[in-house]
């Protein structure tokens, strides 16, 4: 069971997800259920979500990822950290992310 991530958490894509970039969009397929229903259980990430996903290397904390994204977007690291915590929480809840706390 994945815990709720914090800014100090280090996250990585879990083995329970297939992530494929197709025509610029990142599509995530959770494999937790026995059968993946193409009608109901797929997720797409937009451009910024994709940048977040690519930074999930199992080394950087979410705070560090927020700092890196803040350098590329017109938003503060605090704002982005709050946003990616929400997204990471949703992904972890669906077992698509592993969460490691220090």
């Amino acid at each position: 069971m994945n815990s709720r991530p914090t800014v100090k958490s280090v996250c990585a894509p879990s083995e329970n997800v297939v992530a494929r970039e197709i025509e610029g969009e990142m599509i995530l397929v959770p494999l937790t259920a026995d059968t993946t229903d193409a009608d109901a259980e797929l997720y797409t990430l937009n451009e910024t979500g994709k940048m977040f996903w690519h930074r999930l290397d199992g080394k950087a904390t979410l705070a560090e990822i927020a700092d890196a994204l803040a350098a590329e977007f017109d938003a503060s690291a605090e704002t982005i950290a709050a946003d990616i915590l929400g997204l990471a929480g949703e992904l972890a809840k669906r077992s698509m992310l592993t969460v490691r706390d220090p």
Partner: protein, 158 residues
């Protein structure tokens, strides 16, 4: 194509959207389905999707839900498999009809000719379940067809 729904669209705050991805509804193209089916089945999971077309009627009707799974053994003639079509590269679900020197021959039940030789790496998974299309989907398709006919008749008159 199949509908792709994202439940977290409703769960992630709207304020997140300028910076962080949130879900949206879209349709998967045949090419996207092929890539995702291959990956998912390779991970040992099953892939369930809506079959379109009439090449496998009566075994699979247009709109039926088909589940594809990884198969360890060799395909057997008579089995229905998902594969990448050797000529056009599209995802198709057809029946194995024979073994060849370098692969298998497949053909849709309603097709007059086979698909050509399918190499082993183009076989994606075996169909393990076929569910008849729900009545609602049938009604939706019927409504869409009627709407198309109505639009065509309207353009003809105007």
């Amino acid at each position: 194509m199949v509908r792709l729904s994202q439940e977290w669209r409703h769960k992630v705050k709207t304020a997140c959207s300028p910076y962080v991805a949130y879900g949206k509804e879209r349709l998967l193209t045949n090419a996207e389905q092929l890539v995702l089916l291959r990956e998912t089945v390779a991970h040992g999971a099953h892939w369930r999707f809506e079959a379109l077309g009439h090449s496998m009627r009566q075994a699979i009707r247009d709109g039926d839900m088909v589940t594809v799974a990884h198969e360890n053994g060799d395909p057997k003639p008579g089995d229905i498999w998902a594969c990448r079509h050797p000529r056009n590269g599209r995802l198709v679900v057809h029946r194995i009809v024979a073994r060849t020197d370098h692969g298998w021959l497949m053909r849709g039940d309603q097709c007059l000719t086979d698909d050509g030789e399918i190499p082993p790496d183009a076989l994606l998974g075996r169909v393990i379940r076929i569910e008849r299309r729900p009545v609602q989907r049938l009604r939706r398709k019927l409504a869409a067809r009627l709407a198309r006919l109505w639009r065509a008749a309207w353009h003809r008159e105007s």
